[in-house]
Amino acid sequence: MNRACRLLASAAGVLFALAAVSSSAAESTGTVTGKIRVDLPGIDLSTLGPVVVYLDSVGTPVSFTPPTDEPEISQKGAKFEPSFLLVTNGQTVRIPNDDSIVHNAFSYSRPNAFDLGLYPKGDARTITVREPGPIRIYCSIHKSMNAMVFATPLPWRAIADRAGAFRIDGAPPGHYRAVMWNERLPESAQPVDVAAGQTSNVEISVGGSTR
């Protein structure tokens, strides 16, 4: 066998192994699909900003390793871009200054309050999320700079589409709450069981009344 063939064979072996691992991971985890149902006519979910659905453990805590990638919120044109970021508790967020002027980033959302100080173009600072929940971020110089980071307790989450449908893959088997969060709506949740290799369906209702 010449060198090219040996390389091709090795690559095929690696791909086969990766596929096997991926297939095995898919078989040992489950999927949650569903829909947000709004009981009050007149609400259009697509106009309310990001609608997040995440899994939260019930009873026994679920162990996980926070993602190691560092998503960014850039300071550009005296705005935070993106103005909304979904992360996992424990994850680090990078906030670079991509403007030609000095900026600041701070939050007083407890217990994730921080102040990154003043920093110039080209500099970047980071925050590591310590507790799940919403973190509102501001610049102390520019009123137009507002952003929101929402940290989920576990890494299994999704942003619902315009019709309120969502799909969460890769969750370990167990009992969870599927929680709907949106900045402008009351939080709502439904219990859901995740089984290995199975897809569970859940409908989360957002209720209301007329006065």
């Binding site: 007149g42 900003g49 044109g77 402008r184 009351p186 939080e187 209301g208 009344s209 007329t210 006065r211």
Partner: protein, 246 residues
């Protein structure tokens, strides 16, 4: 007719004092016997070391000229409260109004005591959906009608108008209500505040300590201020507070 020299000097002096941030808070009347009064000012202080431009128009980068700067010259809205004393409850009323272009709550900011109510009154000609996530409230308010949303927990309680906009785009108005755990005062637009006739806590036993009190100041955009507080009967004290990111 031009003002006389003396009047002009007075105007210049007042302008200078305002420019220096020398807000002259006037002492309120002495407290009623057995109570205490706290009063003073709140002001916004820029980050240490920052030189703010006069306006965003001063930026060389044209892309930044529309940026809106934080106005440190006046607090716009702030609440000063005493934690550890009974809440006065009460009602904060938000009126929902609409123009051809947008809906809005008036006022944009308000305050109420824990146990009180946020009343939303719809003065538009069509029903509006109103939510307050912290209170778990989502209600449809008919024209001329109102909704009462409980203010159960201390802290910021935001209220949103969440009806689907007729012309598409993002949903509209929002307001913030600060829910104070104890007696509170809303600062005037230039930052003066008075907490008059506060009840002085009674010590639980002779020689014992009264429940600890905290003076808490809240602003919609700046980190809150907390400082321990002791109150004595007939006390009238000035406290000037500074909101600053640090």
């Amino acid at each position: 007719m031009k003002p006389k020299l003396g009047a002009r000097l007075l105007l210049v002096s007042l302008g200078f004092l305002a420019g220096c941030g020398g807000l002259a808070a006037t002492a309120p009347p002495a407290p009623r016997a057995g109570t205490a009064t706290l009063w003073g000012t709140v002001r916004l202080v820029p980050h240490q070391g920052v030189t703010l431009p006069a306006s965003a128009g001063a930026y060389a980068d044209r892309a930044l000229r529309d940026a809106e700067l934080v106005d440190y010259s006046k607090p716009e809205f702030a609440v000063v409260s005493v934690e550890g004393l009974p809440s006065p409850g009460g009602t904060a009323t938000l009126v929902l109004r609409a123009s051809r272009f947008a809906t809005r709550f008036e006022p944009r900011y308000a305050a109420v005591g824990v146990g009180g109510t946020v009343t939303v009154r719809n003065e538009d000609a069509i029903p509006h959906l109103v939510s307050s996530p912290r209170a778990g409230a989502l209600v449809s308010v008919l024209p001329g009608g109102s909704a009462e949303i409980p203010a159960r927990e201390p802290g910021e309680q935001r209220v949103f108008e969440v009806s689907a906009p007729a012309g598409g785009g993002a949903s509209g108005a929002e307001a913030s209500v600060y829910v104070a755990s104890g007696p509170f005062a809303v600062a005037s637009s230039d930052g003066r505040w008075v907490l008059a006739e506060l009840p002085v806590p009674v010590k639980s036993e002779p020689g014992g300590a009264a429940a600890p009190l905290v003076l808490h100041a809240w602003h919609p955009r700046f980190p809150p201020i907390d400082q321990p507080l002791s109150l004595a009967a007939n006390d009238s004290r000035r406290l000037d507070l500074e909101f600053q990111v640090r």
